[in-house]
Subunit: 135 residues, 2 copies
DNA sequence: TATAACCCTAAAGTAATCTTTAGAGTCAAC
DNA sequence: GTTGACTCTAAAGATTACTTTAGGGTTATA
């Protein structure tokens, strides 16, 4: 199955110019073209886009993704490098998840504080209530 | 206890220009100055910086943070608004954590794949192995 | 075969978050 | 009271990830 850039845009939620931009940046290692120059997206390209989104969420820069995609292009000879890259990526992601969970816990406590404060109508009062809860 | 901008920079890991930038953007609602114009950071300001970092991790824009900080400045009258703001913030964070966890799961599976592929020295072979594991 | 809806490129523009630079004042310690 | 390390501002610059624009070809369909 193959898709036009517009279809892929609709399927992925990425804009057409963004898809072109990713292609230009070398993030779609095997993207084919028609004779006219039109891009022809395959399932493989959709998978690459999924990976890009995954990398993006982890906070990875386009340049790093490009580096990875260029290794993909080079084939089996880069498998060990790609393994190392992914090990690092997973590590980064794990750290990010855990620091985000911390931020969430912190935010939840602050939310509780604001629930009390909004109810009391006063921060000063909320502080007192908080103190008494702890003591 | 009060701190110079350099000390705060060392304590928080944020650069001195970044701290000045945050101040300029209105993210430090109660930052005091000496007569000379030098910034004087208090524990409260450190707490604000902690909050900024927390917001930043959630992907919040400076402008939104500024909006929140300006509510803080206005005092008790904005408590309900701030509560609503925080409810939304926690929701955003929860969504972010869960989508990041998905990305992590996806990445871990891909990592396993690369472990097999790197070991086998061939992606084609790894695909076969994968197939046989599933069937 | 006309036409509307698509596709292309190159280049400029935008928004966000900082960083750097230049020029000048402040402060603490010897 | 001098000096070296610090502080300030304003403005320009850098980087990243796109988006927009301009000008022009392609394709499906009525």
């Amino acid at each position: 199955m193959s898709y036009t850039i517009k279809k892929v845009s609709e399927m992925t939620g990425l804009s057409v110019p963004t898809l072109r931009y990713y292609d230009r940046e070398g993030l779609l290692p095997d993207l084919q073209r028609k004779e006219s120059g039109y891009r022809v997206f395959s399932e493989q390209d959709l998978y690459a886009i999924e990976l890009i989104e995954c990398f993006k969420q982890a906070g990875m820069k386009i340049k790093e993704m490009k580096q990875f995609m260029s290794m993909v292009k080079q084939g089996d000879s880069t498998l060990k490098e790609r393994l190392a890259f992914f090990q690092n990526h997973v590590k980064q992601l794990e750290e990010k998840v855990s620091s985000l969970q911390n931020a969430l816990e912190h935010s939840k406590r602050t939310l509780e504080y604001y629930e009390i404060a909004a109810e009391a109508g006063s921060e000063a009062l909320a502080h007192e209530i908080y103190q008494s809860l702890v003591k």
